[in-house]
């Protein structure tokens, strides 16, 4: 279980996250909603240890990880995909996945054996490529593939580390309806032993995959509930959808 307790983050005088508390159960699909500037991506930075909170605590699987750095959090199974593609641009898709698989399987510390010859690395590359539908493009350079394929690889890099908690920051950002359907299928196909937090602006996708939804506004939690409850909540409609009271 992921437990966020009274988390705050400020940059100088600007408070981006304010006393945020919520819990995510194992295997849950939690969607984070909120308008631009609500602090969603900052929340992901805090959860992954890229940035340290100004106050408050984060615990995962019963361990307080508040003081743990990004490397430590990744090593206990927390992975993320980024809002803007953060790939190894001058490498192939296979090499990208190999880096993730090598890191996750501890093969990054092997000094002699060719990384591509490890059976577990090879298997993980193939499995992940299959999951994100990139099997037929494994040997293509990342800088030569389409934007949609890059978004798939972005998620693939996180999945190749076999995370137990996956944070996805707008995976469908900038892609068309066909690709959104593909992501929908991918999210549905992910095993339930992966807990997923997802920031998503496509409402149809968000409402269809979420077990629960947390809505942020100006760094504060303004609502939390099931998709049905979220749809019917007047505050959410006013803040997020801009509807008049």
């Amino acid at each position: 279980m992921l437990k966020v307790d009274q988390l705050s983050k400020d940059f100088g005088g600007l408070q981006v996250i304010r006393d945020l508390s919520f819990q995510v159960a194992d295997g849950e699909r939690r969607v984070i909603l909120g308008p631009n500037g609500a602090g969603k991506t900052t929340l992901f930075h805090l959860l992954t240890g890229v940035k340290q909170a100004s106050s408050g605590n984060i615990s995962y699987a019963g361990t307080d990880i508040s003081a743990m750095d990004a490397v430590g959090r990744a090593s206990i199974g927390i992975a993320r995909s980024y809002q803007k593609n953060n790939l190894f641009e001058n490498l192939t898709i296979r090499e990208n996945l190999m880096l993730a698989a090598s890191a996750a399987t501890g093969k990054s510390n092997w000094f002699i054996r060719d990384a591509s010859l490890h059976a577990d690395v090879k298997t993980r590359i193939e499995e992940t490529a299959e999951m994100v539908a990139l099997s037929d493009q494994l040997d293509m350079m990342v800088n030569a593939i389409s934007y949609g394929n890059r978004r798939q690889l972005e998620v693939g890099l996180a999945l190749a580390t076999k995370p137990s908690l996956l944070l996805m920051d707008e995976p469908t950002s900038g892609v068309g309806p066909a690709m959104i359907d593909r992501f929908h299928h991918l999210l549905d196909s992910l095993p339930r032993d992966i807990t997923i937090l997802i920031i998503e602006h496509d409402m149809d996708l968000a409402f269809s995959i979420a077990d629960r939804i947390t809505v942020l506004n100006f760094g504060e939690k303004v609502f939390e509930g099931t998709p049905a409850e979220t749809r019917g909540n007047a505050t959410v409609r006013q803040i997020y959808l801009g509807e008049a009271k």
Binding site: A70, A74, E89, L91, A103, N109, R113, A115, H118, T161
Partner: protein, 336 residues
């Protein structure tokens, strides 16, 4: 990512074959040139390992080489240790120093990394330069050659020494290529490409970079041991920053991030230096022009550029598909 392609294997065989033939059929002077090339090439491979594949452009590799040479000499000359343990300790000192430099500088990059390594190098240089016990700027002599008579080799023979240098160069290349193809080497290239992402995937990049510098230090240390064995004399000149600058020049000239390029670069630089200096005192200017051309040609260096040309030449051409009508032609058809 590093791949030992057929082209690289051929280039390496040609380069090492040239050195072996040049030493075998050349004069004593030619054999000295070959040793000079092998020392520079080993040092250049060690720099390419961390700069070309790890993004750590170091300006202290001369110091790392010098530290290995000094520790080897201190153990042998001052303390009377046999050659092999002295050399082992020299290599260990190089590994520890470079690993420490890598650890301290791991969180820096670009110009700050270069300046930090330059500072470390100059600190080491100053230490040996000022030390009276180690001979100060006079350096230290009295080094004895490795006794390889049990192998039937007499290292006092210039040809044997030159060929041994070529052999060590080959071994260092093999070690570097194995490391670069391992999980460690692949992740090192990943750190060079996108360090933040590697951290997000659970890689302790600071530790990884420090280890890469230590591996590089081992190779630079090999160059230091051969340098001490070659002249049987060492001085702080080995550690001065211009040595590191010259090695960086060789790496760029040959082709950074190719591993075999630095070997080619070392051959070009030393051969040019010796051949051109017969004709003009301004040979540095000609080397400078060659370097500028190598940088302007996409920064790939001599071997790197040749590799790109040959790969493009041998790449299978995709069959030409019939052109689809352009938008303007379609409009013309519509109008018709």
């Amino acid at each position: 990512m590093f791949y030992q392609t057929h082209l690289r294997s051929i280039a390496l065989i040609l380069a090492l074959g040239f050195l072996a033939i040049y030493a075998s059929f050349g004069s004593y002077f030619a054999r000295e040139i070959v040793v000079e090339i092998t020392i520079l090439a080993i040092l250049a491979i060690s720099l390419d390992f961390c700069a070309g594949f790890g993004g750590m452009v170091s300006l202290c590799h001369g110091a790392i080489m010098g530290i290995a040479a000094y520790v080897f000499t201190i153990m042998g000359v001052k303390l009377g240790w046999p050659s092999l343990p002295s050399a082992t300790l020299g290599l260990l000192a190089a590994v520890l120093f470079s690993g420490m430099v890598g650890w301290v500088t791991a969180r820096t990059s670009g110009i700050f990394f270069i300046m930090a390594t330059l500072a470390f190098g100059q600190m080491a240089y100053t230490f040996f330069f000022k030390s009276r016990w180690l001979g100060g700027d006079d350096g230290m002599g009295g080094i004895s050659r490795f006794d390889l008579s049990w192998l039937g080799l007499d290292l006092n023979d210039a040809l044997v020494f030159a060929l041994l240098g070529v052999g060590v160069l080959f071994l260092v290349y093999v070690v570097a290529s194995i490391l670069l193809r391992s999980g460690f080497g692949r992740v090192l290239c990943g750190i060079h490409s996108n360090e933040n992402r590697m951290q997000a995937m659970g890689v302790n990049t600071a530790k990884h970079k420090a280890l890469a510098m230590a591996c590089s230090g081992f190779m630079a240390g090999m160059a230091g041991i051969i340098a001490a064995q070659h002249t049987l004399y060492i001085s702080p000149e080995l550690l001065i920053w211009t040595v590191s600058g010259e090695v960086l020049l060789v790496v760029i000239l040959g082709g950074i991030g190719t591993l075999v390029g630095p070997v080619i670069g070392a051959i070009i630089l030393i051969m040019m230096k010796h051949e051109l200096s017969n004709y003009t005192d301004y040979w540095h200017m000609i080397v400078g022009v060659v370097l500028i051309l190598a940088v302007l040609a996409g920064g790939r260096g001599v071997y790197g550029q040749i590799e790109v040309w040959l790969e493009a030449f041998f790449k299978p051409q995709a069959p030409k598909e019939p052109k689809e009508p352009t938008e303007s032609k379609e409009k013309e058809q519509d109008l018709a």
